[in-house]
């Protein structure tokens, strides 16, 4: 029973990371109805930036904050210069541009920092504080995820900027009429998504180790989580992340083994898309014919 409980708790911890990635995806989806295939590689690149700063002797949390800030600015810049010009183009064009970004970030990380696998430090102490059930890093990851969620909630619910962003996502035309700079709100959405992705990357890197391909599987789980929860619903995406995390861990430990973990994500994605495309909590899209 203890072993099972441990699997569930560990699943919640990785689920927190998936939830963060899913949240980043939802953030972009809500405002532009696009799924960012480069989200994982952007997060990986942010993690490398943090790693490089820590290598230079910077304290972990300062590097953490700086990496998040750089990602925020970087995300905004990507939206302004690369995504905005194609925002009215066909789906294929946008998908190809995303794939281009994915390739560029992957290549740049390999170019700057080589393809060898690196150890990324965990900011949480080694010595177990919470007993055998949960490691400090798992607990810390959960804590960081929750803090991010609360901050986002407060930001979107109680600040004028958050309100403007929600308005721009929901009704761009009316928002523009009342003076919201919609295009900049979208860019800010990209920035926030990149920042959240960076946090997810830095939380997962101590577990999977740092290399240019580290986010491939994580992104897949992020997709699965976002779809499961409903890709237009942030809370659903977060819940989806936790469900997928636990599911992955428990299935991996007792049913199918660790070798087919990615297939679980594939099955979840295809199953949700075909059986219930709106996910558990998403809005059902009705098209007028």
């Amino acid at each position: 029973m203890d072993a099972f409980l441990h699997q569930v708790v560990a699943g919640l911890a990785t689920g927190g990371i998936y939830a963060a990635v899913a949240l980043a995806l939802v953030m972009i989806y809500q405002s532009t109805h696009l799924v960012n295939f480069a989200q994982g590689e952007m997060a990986m690149f942010s993690t490398y930036i943090a790693w490089a700063m820590i290598q230079e002797g910077m304290p972990y949390w300062i590097a953490f904050v700086l990496a998040v800030a750089i990602s925020l600015v970087g995300g905004i810049a990507i939206q302004r210069f690369i995504i905005r010009p194609v925002s009215n183009a066909s789906v294929l064009t946008v998908v190809v541009v995303f794939i281009g970004l994915l390739a560029i970030f992957n290549a740049m990380a390999g170019w700057f920092w080589s393809h060898t696998i690196k150890v990324f430090p965990s900011p949480f102490p080694e010595k177990p504080v919470f007993g055998k059930l949960i490691s400090n890093h798992e607990m810390g990851t959960l804590g960081v995820t929750l803090v991010v969620l609360i901050l986002l909630y407060v930001f979107f619910k109680y600040t004028p900027l958050g309100l403007a962003m929600r308005a721009a996502a929901q009704n761009p035309i009316s928002s523009r009429l009342v003076g919201v700079r919609v295009s900049w709100m979208l860019a800010l959405g990209w920035g926030l998504a990149a920042a959240i992705g960076a946090i997810a990357g830095m939380m997962v890197a101590p577990i999977v180790y740092l290399d240019p391909n580290m986010m491939g599987g994580i992104l897949l789980y992020g997709f699965a989580s976002a779809l499961l929860g409903g890709i237009d619903n942030p809370w659903g995406a977060v819940l989806g992340g936790f469900i997928v995390g636990v599911l992955e861990n428990v299935l991996g430990a007792y049913v199918i083994g660790t070798e087919l973990k990615l297939t679980v994500a594939l099955v979840i994605i295809v199953a949700v898309l075909t059986v219930k495309p709106s996910g558990l909590f998403g809005k059902v899209i009705v098209t007028r014919v």
């Binding site: 690369i82 970004l101 560029i104 290549a107 897949l220 087919l260 075909t274």
Partner: protein, 316 residues
Amino acid sequence: MKIDNRLLALAAIVVACVLPMFLRNFQVFQLTLAMVYAIAILGLTMLTGFNGQISLGHGAFYAIGAYTAAILMDRFGVPYWATLPVAGVVCLVAGFLFGLPALRLEGLYLALATFALGTALPQLLKYKLIEGWTGGVQGIVIIKPDPPFDLPISQDRWLYYFTLFVLLVMFVIGQNILRGRMGRAMVAIRDQPMAAAAMGVDTAMVKSLTFGISALYTGVAGALGAIVIQFVAPDSFNIFLSISFVVGMVIGGVGSIAGAIFGGLFIQFVPNVAEAVSKSAPWAIYGIFLIVFMFIMPGGMAAFFKLIWTKIGGKV
């Protein structure tokens, strides 16, 4: 001066036939691979370019084709040429089956599902229950076929001509499919699904079938690729292989049959040149090309050459 398109194609074929005589074995091998990729890209462009279904996971069908050929040759001693039709049929069925749930998915979601397929596949190929067939992480080594009838040419050259033959057959068939009733239905569904359905096009059937045919092309390419490289292993069929095909399709020209050839040549030779700079350079260049082409030349190389061609007085 009006020159017919067919004449141009004929000239290209003649050049392709003569070319290996002036090249070293390794260069012939590289050209063979470029043709293999061209067939795979033609499959992808049928699906994405003509039918508008975005696939980011076509490497999966390439892998299925490659493994079918490798297992048949390694386990059952089937001659190499006989593995191609089998690989094609296996992929046709696999593609058709994946195409059925894909019917419900619009552009972006299909891209997502196929992306997941492409990412998950290497792990699936390593699965230990099928290890007896696939050789697990080690993969399967295949013996290079000898030229038949004691032809006095090297194995690489023979494979080159064999691949060229398959390529020509596949492209002629592809041309006929795409120019015919089926191709018109595919394009109609891409541009106006509702109007196509109203005109009596069986949308579901055509879309699934297109998925199947597309997978067949890519699968045959995979089988050829396995024979040419003499080796299959799970990690060579990762998501970046699928992305390479997308790169080839975009560079060659989305929805252009001849563009597939440019695409094949591009993804075979550009990385070789770029790797001289850095191991990561090819992918950086791919990424930049993808974005730049989407911004300034969405028609790809095919559209670019067509433009030059019409400028100098050629007939299209």
